[in-house]
C-alpha cells in the first residue's frame, strides 16, 4: 500500500509561480538595457538584448504550461484554482509585452526622438520597478501559504501591494507627460513613425498595469 498517504499531497504551485514571476521581472528589466542600446545607436547590442528578452519569454511560457498542468481540476487548495490561473495569466503578460515592444523597435529600427529619450528611459525603468515590486509581493506567497492567508503576514503583503500601486501611479503620470512631449513634436516626425511611437509608449505602460494587476489578484486571494 506504500505511499498513498504521500500521494494525496499534490505538488505545491507556489515555487513555480514565484519562479515564473522571476522570469517576468527579468524580461522587463532587460527592456531597460534594450532601450539604452537603441538610444546609443548600438543595434548589435540591442539585438543581443532582444534575444535575451525572447529567451526569458520562452522560459516563462514553459513554466506557465507546466504550472497549468500541475493544478488539475480535482485539487483541493486554500486558494481557488481560477484565481491562481488568472494570476499566472496576468504575470505572463509582462514578458509578452517586453517581447512585442522590443520586436517592434528592432523590426522598424525605431530610434526615439531626442526630446523624449531621457523621460522615456525613466518611464521604462519605472515600469520595470513595478514588475520588481510585483515580484517582491509574489515572493511573499510562500509565507501566505504558511500562515494560511491570515494575520500579520497579510498586513505585510497589503503594504507591499500599496507600494506597488504607488509605483504604478508614477508610471501613469510619466506616460501622460511623455505623450504630451511627443504630441508637441509630432508634426516634425514622419506620421507612421509617430503612430508606432504612441504604440510603444502604450505597450510599455501595460507592463506597469500588469504588475499592478498581479497585486490585485493577490489581494483577491487574501479577501476570501
Amino acid at each position: 500500500m506504500g505511499n498513498y498517504l504521500a500521494n494525496i499531497f499534490a505538488a505545491s504551485p507556489v515555487r513555480p509561480i514565484q519562479e515564473h514571476m522571476e522570469q517576468c521581472y527579468r524580461a522587463s528589466d532587460e527592456l531597460v538595457d534594450f532601450f539604452r542600446h537603441t538610444i546609443a545607436g548600438d543595434w548589435d547590442a540591442a539585438r543581443v538584448s532582444r534575444q535575451r528578452i525572447v529567451d526569458l519569454e520562452h522560459a516563462a511560457d514553459g513554466l506557465k504550461k507546466q504550472l497549468r498542468g500541475q493544478i488539475p481540476k480535482r485539487l483541493f487548495m486554500p486558494v481557488p484554482r481560477e484565481d491562481l490561473l488568472d494570476l499566472i495569466w496576468v504575470q505572463d503578460q509582462i514578458p509578452n509585452r517586453a517581447r512585442d515592444i522590443s520586436g517592434l523597435v528592432i523590426g522598424r529600427e525605431i530610434t526615439l526622438p531626442e526630446v523624449i529619450q531621457d523621460s522615456f528611459l525613466a518611464f521604462v525603468a519605472r515600469n520595470a520597478d513595478a514588475a520588481k515590486m510585483a515580484r517582491k509581493t509574489i515572493n511573499e506567497l510562500d509565507e501566505l501559504y504558511e500562515t494560511g492567508f491570515q494575520g500579520a503576514e497579510v498586513q505585510l503583503v497589503e503594504t507591499l501591494i500599496n507600494e506597488l500601486d504607488q509605483i504604478e501611479d508614477d508610471t501613469d503620470d510619466m506616460q501622460a507627460s511623455i505623450r504630451k512631449q511627443l504630441f508637441d513634436i509630432e508634426q516634425q516626425l514622419p506620421p507612421i513613425e509617430v503612430m508606432f511611437l504612441y504604440r510603444i509608449i502604450e505597450l510599455t505602460g501595460d507592463i506597469g498595469d500588469m504588475a499592478e494587476r498581479v497585486g490585485r489578484r493577490l489581494e483577491l486571494m487574501l479577501a476570501r
Binding site: M1, N3, Y4, N7, F9, A10, P13, M77, T147, Q150
Partner: protein, 416 residues
C-alpha cells in the same frame, strides 16, 4: 484438545505473517510524517516505532484485542465444535495477511483493520451462518470508520487553527512559538497518557484511581514538555533565512513537536493495529489450551510480545524502504501541519482503542490531513487520491471475507 500444538504453531506463524505485513506497510505510513518533515531520520523513526508500538500494544491494546477475539462473533455458537473457531481465526489471519500482501504489491491503499474485520465476518457467515455475526457490534465498527476520520479531521482543524491564531498569524511568530510549543507538547502527552490510564491499563492488571490518573498524566506531561522546552530553547534563529517572520525557525521548533507526534502515532498504532493481528491469535490460544470456547480467559502477555516482535521485524526488513519512499514524497507537510495532523490522528486512535473499536490508522491520518487542509493549511491536496482511498475501504471488506471463506474451507478440509 487434539492437535493443539499444530494449531498453536500455525497461529504463531500466521500471526507473525500478519504482524510483519502491518510493520512493513501500516507503520511506514504512520511514521512517514515525521520522516518527511525531517524531524527524525529513518533510523530514529524505526527505533521510535519499535519502542512505542510495543508499549502501545501492551499498555493500551487490550480492548481491541478482545473485540477482535470475541466481540464480533457469537462465541457461544462454537461451544460444541471449538475447532471451528480455531479454523476460522486461522483463516482470518491468513486471509488478511494475504490480502495485505497482494494489495501492497499492487499499490492499493487498504487497511489492516478492515481486512481482518472483513475476514472474521467472512468465516463466521460461511461457518455458522449469518446469525453467528454480532451485526450490532460490526455496525458500530463500520460506523467508527466513518466517524474516526471525521473526528480526527475536526481535531486537526482545531489544533491547526489554534496554531494559526496563537503563533503563525502574529507579527513575531517565533516568540509565540517558543511560548506555546511546550503547552502543545503538554496537552498531547497529558491527553494520551490519560486515555491510556483510563482505558488501557486495566488490561495489564493495573487499576488507577481517577484522581491519580489525572495526577500521573499531568506529571508525565510536564516532564515531557520541559524536556521539549529545553530542546526548543537550543534552537537558534537563522537571521539570514528571513528577516521579517522567521518561519524557518518556527518550523524547526515544530520539528521538536513532531518527535512527540511520532511517539504518539507509534503508540496509538500499536494500541490499535497490533491488537488486530494478535486478536485472532489470542482467540486460538485460549481455545487450544482449554479445549473450550472460554469467554473470560486473559490474553497471555507473550502473545502481545509476538505481535510487537513481528511488527518490528516487518519494519526492519521492509518498512525501512517504505518509510524512505513515503517520507521523501511527503515533504509538502511542514512540521506545524504534520504536528496538527499526527496528534489529531493519535488522539482519535487512542480513544478508539480505549473503547475497543478497531479503526484504521492510516484512514484516520488521512482524515486529519484533510482537516488541516480545510484550515487553509496545505497548499494542494489531490481529491482523486482521497476518493480512491475511500473506495478502497469498501472493497477491502468483501475481499477479506471471500479470501477468509476460501481459507476456512481449505483448513477445515486439511485439518478437520
Amino acid at each position: 484438545m487434539p492437535d493443539a500444538n499444530i494449531y498453536l504453531a500455525l497461529a504463531a506463524v500466521f500471526g507473525l505473517f500478519m504482524a510483519w505485513g502491518i510493520g512493513a506497510n501500516d507503520v511506514a505510513n504512520a511514521m512517514a510524517t515525521s520522516v518527511g518533515t525531517r524531524a527524525l531520520t529513518i533510523r530514529q523513526a524505526i527505533l521510535v516505532a519499535a519502542i512505542f508500538e510495543f508499549t502501545g500494544a501492551v499498555l493500551a491494546g487490550g480492548e481491541v484485542t478482545s473485540t477482535i477475539r470475541k466481540g464480533m462473533v457469537d462465541a457461544a455458537l462454537f461451544t460444541d465444535q471449538p475447532q471451528l473457531l480455531v479454523f476460522g481465526m486461522l483463516a482470518a489471519l491468513l486471509a488478511a495477511g494475504t490480502w495485505l500482501l497482494v494489495a501492497s504489491r499492487k499499490g492499493w491503499p487498504v487497511s489492516t483493520t478492515h481486512s481482518i474485520v472483513g475476514a472474521i465476518i467472512g468465516f463466521a457467515v460461511a461457518g455458522l451462518g449469518v446469525d453467528a455475526v454480532k451485526w450490532a457490534k460490526v455496525g458500530s465498527i463500520v460506523l467508527s470508520w466513518v466517524v474516526s476520520p471525521i473526528t480526527a479531521g475536526i481535531i486537526a482543524w482545531l489544533i491547526f487553527s489554534s496554531i494559526q491564531w496563537l503563533i503563525l498569524s502574529r507579527s513575531r511568530p517565533i516568540t509565540y512559538a517558543r511560548r506555546y510549543a511546550p503547552l502543545y507538547i503538554f496537552l498531547t502527552v497529558f491527553l494520551i497518557t490519560l486515555v491510556t490510564l483510563f482505558k488501557g491499563l486495566k488490561h495489564v492488571g493495573l487499576h488507577v484511581a481517577t484522581s491519580h490518573a489525572y495526577l500521573i498524566a499531568a506529571l508525565v506531561g510536564v516532564v515531557v514538555a520541559l524536556t521539549g522546552g529545553w530542546f526548543i530553547s537550543r534552537i537558534k534563529i537563522d537571521e539570514q533565512a528571513e528577516r521579517e517572520f522567521h518561519f524557518d525557525t518556527v518550523e524547526r521548533i515544530f520539528g521538536v513537536l513532531m518527535v512527540v507526534t511520532a511517539c504518539s502515532m507509534a503508540f496509538a498504532h500499536g494500541s490499535n493495529d497490533v491488537a488486530n493481528a494478535i486478536g485472532p491469535v489470542a482467540a486460538i490460544i485460549s481455545v487450544a489450551n482449554s479445549g473450550t470456547v472460554g469467554l473470560q480467559s486473559a490474553i497471555p502477555i507473550w502473545v502481545l510480545f509476538l505481535g510487537g516482535a513481528g511488527i518490528v521485524f516487518g519494519l526492519a526488513t521492509y518498512g525501512r524502504k517504505v518509510i524512505a519512499t513515503v517520507g521523501s514524497d511527503i515533504t509538502h507537510l511542514t512540521p506545524s501541519r504534520g504536528f496538527s495532523a499526527g496528534v489529531a490522528a493519535a488522539l482519535t486512535i487512542v480513544i478508539a482503542s480505549g473503547t475497543g473499536l478497531p479503526i484504521s490508522t492510516t484512514h484516520t491520518l488521512v482524515g486529519a490531513v484533510l482537516g488541516v487542509g480545510l484550515a487553509r493549511g496545505i497548499s494542494a491536496l489531490n481529491l482523486d487520491v482521497v476518493g480512491r482511498i475511500f473506495a478502497s475501504w469498501i472493497i477491502t471488506i468483501p475481499a477479506g471475507a471471500v479470501l477468509s471463506i476460501i481459507f476456512y474451507f481449505s483448513l477445515k478440509f486439511l485439518l478437520g
